[in-house]
């Protein structure tokens, strides 16, 4: 073994004498004069030389998607000459984190924005049209929903990243047992099927608690399918207290009692996944994560016969009502914060992230749970390999509505969503409030937002 040379230093090519001189000068200068001292010494400390890029995102329901992004971080760092760090937090905590960052003027350089949040935080975000436009142009265009969610006043305030679809995940065999081979297409049919299944101890499970995803993605389309809406097309007049809304509330009161697990009032976005995997519920509106996780953990997640559960899961669109059949998928995008000192780097990173060879790996790790933000990904080879229940997500993002319908998806629509007014309108009716009173309550709350 070679004996250590006492003259060697941690920096190649620098002998001990020089190292002590420079190090001492930097140390003394730092102690005596702080930053000015460091500058006077003519050398920055090593830790200050690397630029760091900090990205905050939700904890994905598909863990492999987060693993892929984490894996890509050093690759991006190498390509951009910076240290790229992902931080994953609970989706329900994202808004609090954004508010704190904006008000303190410090925090992550890039933050994931769900729904149409760029409208709510528009004054704190920079224009990223120079990043978004070329991506859209090169990839057959973004889905229409992003024009409403990520574009504010004609400028892209976020680069669309993906859409999480949702469908009703249901147990094929349990439905077959009661003679149902095709999932109900209308709410009334689902009520009959759900009632029969609940009698057998296999209710429908639906989250109606204060949570970011499943409760609103169920409540809004239900409202629309009966002809209800928060506002008229101008977005300035509240029209929630309508016959359609009251009908939907009356339907839901009966559906809840006869067909659903009434514990759903306290459920968040994770409860129905766990309940489905535990064979406690027959159907639930959810992203494809129930199916994908059940398949990826087939040795752990089994049905009551001990068989892998994923084999018995089928997907169907949310049923329709008298006014039609609608979906509300979850669009998400990345915004660069105005306070960030690394705005150019942040934009470069987003370009890197959306480069086909990088984006493709993240896209594939999702296996249809989240689909691409641009239409080009509809033609990806992955779709020919994914299982049948997942194939319905291939083009589904074209059809989604979003918050604020029938008006524009403004910051007021985000405010209403964040206050859970539509979700709570249904929850109030489930708790025993008369349907008419629940609609009236929602009208009062929405007027404070849209007509104030």
């Amino acid at each position: 073994m070679e004996a250590p040379d006492p003259r060697k230093t941690p920096i190649p090519g620098v002998d001990r004498r020089t190292f002590i001189k420079v190090g001492g000068a930097v140390g003394l200068a730092a102690a005596a004069g702080g930053l000015e001292g460091i500058l006077a010494a003519g050398r920055a400390p090593v830790y200050a030389q690397a630029t760091k890029l900090h990205i905050v995102r939700w904890v994905d329901f598909i863990p492999e998607a987060d693993v892929e992004l984490k894996r890509q971080a050093p690759e991006a760092g190498k390509a951009l000459g910076a240290e790229v760090t992902f931080e994953f937090i609970n989706a329900n905590d994202l808004q609090a984190r954004i508010t704190a960052a904006i008000q303190s003027g410090s925090g992550a350089d890039i933050i994931q924005m769900l729904w149409n949040w760029p409208h709510l935080y528009q004054s704190a975000l920079i224009d990223v049209s120079d990043v978004a436009e070329p991506i859209g142009k090169a990839q057959n265009g973004f889905y229409d929903v992003f024009n409403a969610t990520a574009k504010v006043g004609g400028k892209w305030l976020a680069v669309p990243h993906g859409i999480t679809g949702n469908t009703v995940a249901y147990r094929r065999s349990w439905h077959k047992e009661i003679g149902v081979t095709e999932f109900p297409k209308t709410w009334d049919e689902w009520r009959k099927v759900g009632t029969a299944l609940k009698k057998k101890g296999k209710p429908v499970g639906q989250a109606l608690g204060h949570s970011f995803g499943d409760p609103p993605t169920f409540s809004y389309p239900l409202l629309w399918s009966f002809g209800g809406a928060e506002t008229d097309a101008s977005g300035k007049k509240v029209v929630i207290n309508s016959k359609g809304t009251v009908d939907s509330l009356k339907f839901m009161q009966a559906f809840w009692k006869e067909a659903c697990d009434e514990g759903g009032l306290a459920w968040d976005d994770t409860n129905n996944n766990r309940a489905f995997h535990a064979s406690d519920i027959s159907a639930t509106l959810n992203g494809a994560s129930i199916y994908i996780v059940a398949k990826r953990q087939k040795d752990k997640i089994k049905d009551e016969k001990g068989e892998p559960l994923w084999q018995d899961i089928e997907h169907a669109p949310l049923p329709g009502g008298p006014a039609g059949q609608f979906s509300m998928f979850l669009p998400f995008q990345h915004s660069v914060m105005k306070y960030s000192k690394n705005q150019k780097l942040a934009k470069d990173f987003l370009k890197w992230l959306h480069a086909k060879e990088n984006y493709e790996k993240w896209f594939q790790s999702n296996e249809a749970y989240s689909v691409g933000s641009t239409k080009v990904w509809e033609d990806h080879a992955m779709w020919s390999k994914v299982d049948k229940p997942l194939q319905m997500y291939q083009r589904a993002a074209r059809l989604t509505r979003t918050l604020g319908h029938a008006g524009p998806a403004t910051a007021k629509a985000t405010e209403s969503y964040t206050k859970y007014i539509i979700v709570d309108m249904y929850a109030n009716a489930m708790k025993g409030m008369k349907a008419e009173d629940a609609a009236k309550w929602a009208e009062g709350e929405l007027k404070k937002i849209y007509e104030a």
């Binding site: 508010t99 704190a124 514990g263 009032l265 459920w267 409860n271 766990r274 859970y420 309550w441």
Partner: protein, 308 residues
């Protein structure tokens, strides 16, 4: 003969000595760090909170002065009214339970028995355990689908259908009260125990000799001497319980349908999650006059007790 020579530094120390002898100046110097800390960490946030409550500040927008508009809007808000009522209900019952159970526990622990020290130490566990973690554990126990309590009750044949612990408004707030009591009771017990140990045993002995039974000894000896400590503990507990946030945030997030929101959690939802900072600040400031009044009444009573 030795001659005492003046110390070379003595003349230099004189100004310092003079400075130290000036009580006003010294008091100023000694108080400055505390005043600065109070100013930075208490006065500044408080003044900022008051300013925000009087402004239309939204996330990313400084806003402008709107007078009492935010307060009037909150007062007219049905969810705020429910949260305000819930906060009183929650604080009242949680404090009653913590006080009665804490007193009972303190009286038991004041006796001599084997393993007393271990019992006293373990009693503090709920108090020292982080609220978020313990509330997560309770949330699991009250889970609408996988509740271990429901499972136990079902296996014991006491229920045939699930008890909707967190999905029914009436149950949910009581569940929160139970958890708050579980967590806060050790604070009452340990403080009251400390108070009990300052009571001279001779007083109890004398009362016993006079024929007083256990209840009369508690009523006429223990309680009057323990009253000042009890009032202080209740003041602290009311302040903490009235402004509770973590427990509800983790347990129910204010649901179902806002029925478990407290003023603090609703202020958070409006101010931080929705970004309406002015309105959120106004909602949270509704707690101030209530707490001020409670503290004033209790401290006034305490002062009267001390003067008696």
């Amino acid at each position: 003969m030795e001659v005492a020579l003046p110390h070379p530094g003595a003349s230099q120390r004189q100004p310092l000595a003079r400075f130290l002898e000036n009580e006003r100046l010294l008091a100023f110097v000694l108080l400055t760090p505390a005043v600065v800390l109070l100013g930075v960490f208490i006065a500044y946030p408080f003044v900022m909170g008051v300013w925000l409550s009087l402004s239309s500040t939204r996330v990313g927008n400084p806003g402008h002065f709107v007078g009492l508009k935010n307060f009037l809007k909150a007062w007219d808000d049905s969810i705020f009214q429910m949260a305000f009522r819930n906060t009183f209900f929650y604080t009242f019952w949680a404090t009653i339970f913590k006080l009665s159970l804490g007193m009972w526990l303190a009286l038991l622990l004041n006796r001599h028995f084997r393993g007393k020290r271990i019992v006293r130490a373990s009693m503090l566990l709920p108090f020292i355990f982080p609220t978020v973690l313990s509330t997560f554990a309770w949330r699991w126990m009250f889970d609408p689908t996988f509740s271990v309590l429901n499972w136990t009750l079902y296996q014991a044949g006491l229920i045939t259908t699930k008890v909707p612990w967190l999905s029914d408004s009436a149950y949910a707030l009581w569940c929160a009260i139970v958890i708050n009591t579980w967590r806060g009771m050790p604070f009452f017990a340990i403080t009251l125990l400390a108070g009990l140990q300052t009571i001279n045993p001779d007083l109890h002995e004398a009362a016993s000799l006079d024929g007083a039974n256990a209840w009369r000894r508690f009523r006429h000896v223990t309680w009057p001497l323990l009253k000042p400590v009890t009032i202080v503990v209740v003041v602290f507990s009311v302040i903490q319980t009235f402004s509770d946030f973590q427990l509800i945030y983790v347990l129910t997030g204010g649901g179902p349908a806002n029925s478990t929101h407290l003023v603090a959690t609703y202020a958070y939802q409006i101010g931080v999650a929705t970004g309406l900072l002015g309105e959120g600040a106004a909602i949270s400031l509704f707690m101030l006059p209530v707490l001020f009044f409670v503290v004033w009444i209790q401290l006034r009573y305490l002062r009267r007790l001390e003067g008696a």
